[in-house]
Symmetry: C2
Subunit: 331 residues, 2 copies
């Protein structure tokens, strides 16, 4: 069969543009023995993919020009050459950015029984949700009743960070890039306070929102956000370093926070992580998060794009602030 797929036709410089991407036709052959053919239901776009578009050494290798991009996706098995996978099984895998794929089963996980729409398994119950979960509870060592600040709070990870922190009885502050997002955080997602980082100084907002300081700052953004949060940390505070989306389109390295040495006297911990460092917690995460989602304690916010022709728009929206919650591309 034939399917559409997206390639990187040139490396983005600064903000990614639609012309950096091309939609092409690919062949999706019948599966050989041990292989399966998957029709994708939806695919994920994630900030970390921006890093893979740069030619450099990193924790994941760079994308190559002209190759079909990869990334998280949920699909349904359409033909199976493997005894453990049968037609109609929902699977989670990394062959996104295409409508269909034929692949060995390596790295393909059967979802089994699902308790939410398939898209949740690349969102709240998938990688971004697990990033929030391990970042807050393991890396951030969150304690009940603490004060938590999360930047990029209206994003796929941030919306979940804030809601988990509320579940743990914490006071939660979030920053986002528009008044609409601020309203979402406060009115729909239960944040105690949210502010628009494009309106006024971040440090002033934080001091007003958390006059007694922050125990945990969950950093999705880096740059000015990190510097301002450092000014407000309480003794022995923790800063999970999850992302630095403010800097991902920088063409020159940007200076770091000028107040990092505040960590010394205060005994602060800044700890970087990626979700795969915590794969051993995957079952525990899914169990907890499915419980919270089905009980209504955690709400999944999604921005949905229809069709593979919109995949590049979905990705670009991560950096322009166009997306709210998890960006999903239905295929």
């Amino acid at each position: 069969m034939q399917a559409k797929a997206v390639t990187l036709c040139q490396r983005p410089v600064g903000m990614p543009k639609k012309e950096d991407f091309e939609v092409i036709d690919i062949d999706v052959p019948a599966p050989a023995d041990g292989e399966i053919q998957i029709q994708n239901v939806c695919m994920s776009v994630d900030p970390y993919m921006r890093g893979r578009m740069i030619e450099r050494k990193s924790y994941v290798p760079p994308f190559q020009i002209g190759e079909v991009l990869t990334g998280g996706a949920i699909g349904k098995v359409t033909k199976s050459g493997h005894p453990d996978y049968k037609e109609g099984d929902y699977v989670s895998h990394s062959w996104g950015w295409r409508e269909a794929v034929t692949t060995s089963v390596e790295g393909v996980q059967r979802l089994g029984e699902i308790v939410a729409p398939p898209s949740a398994y690349i969102g709240t119950i998938g990688m971004p949700g697990m990033t929030a979960y391990v970042g807050l509870l393991e890396v951030g060592a969150l304690q009940d009743g603490e004060t938590v600040f999360v930047s990029g709070a209206a994003g796929a990870v941030g919306t979940i960070v804030g809601q988990i922190a509320k579940l743990k009885g914490c006071r939660v502050i979030g920053s986002a890039g528009s008044a609409e997002k601020v309203a979402l955080l406060q009115d729909e997602l239960g944040f105690d306070h949210a502010f628009n980082y494009n309106d006024g100084h971040i440090l002033n907002h934080l001091r007003e929102a958390a006059p007694d300081g922050l125990d945990v700052y969950f950093d999705n953004v880096g740059a000015e956000h990190l510097q301002a949060a450092l000014m407000c940390m309480r003794p022995f505070g923790r800063i999970p370093l999850c992302g630095a989306i403010a800097t991902y389109n920088d063409t020159e390295p940007r200076p770091g926070p000028n107040n990092l040495s505040m960590a010394i006297g205060l005994g602060l911990t800044l700890r970087g992580f990626i979700v795969t460092h915590f794969n051993h917690l995957a079952d525990q995460f899914r169990n907890d998060m499915e419980g919270w989602v089905t009980s209504g304690q955690i709400t999944s916010k999604e921005t949905v794009f229809e069709g593979i022709d919109q995949a590049a728009d979905a990705f670009i929206g991560l950096f322009t602030g166009a997306n709210v919650g998890k960006a999903i591309v239905n295929l």
Copy 2:
């Protein structure tokens, strides 16, 4: 009785100057009930004192102009109004920068039996030694056989960091500010590699010394050292943030490392600390370090200044690079 003491007569701007300090005469009365009179044997000068000379909120309150400075010192009890302290007892306390003091016993620790010269108890077996010990073993979570880099390696803390790491079977790299210090580290203190950070690029030195990367970077210096070390960290490396002496005389905040986001993919931990966060380990530290010193496994390097008139020189020498090992002022 009368004694000499040192006051701060004006707040240093940039590098401290001798004129910022004044030697005055003070009265040291006979002790009242519950008090003791101490003749100081030697006093400590430490980089953290520079921060206390600035009028700002910090983990220790700022020094006040015209008041006698304070800091670590070792003394002998000359008169006692307290039943637990008797004449001739060695004590460790924070009434440095003066030849003698009469004080309540609060914060005054009897040293008991000592196994090294009194000055060791404000050096290797005192605060700087314990800073090295807890920073490397607790904050840095050092594992046997790892590769360790310490900056300010010829200083009071750095000389001990390197020697403890060698005791733990690690490969040890140090940076210092002169060829003489580099020779000391390599020839006398057992460092595997040392380099002069004033000669060539720190990053080039590090890549040559540790082609397979660093597991622990013990940061005494901050600034360029931290940025270069971040470039060389291995996955899940640890960076105890102990000091940032490169920046202590800055009159404007200096930008931080432009590559802090490398911590994300590598799962690095940067953790600030001060020694008093680990007071619960004081007995264990003293026991271990006295053992290492008496067995000859750890060598104490000192730069000795004679008399309180040289106290300001000793302090200034911390920042000019004049001192090697622990700067001691004999009183």
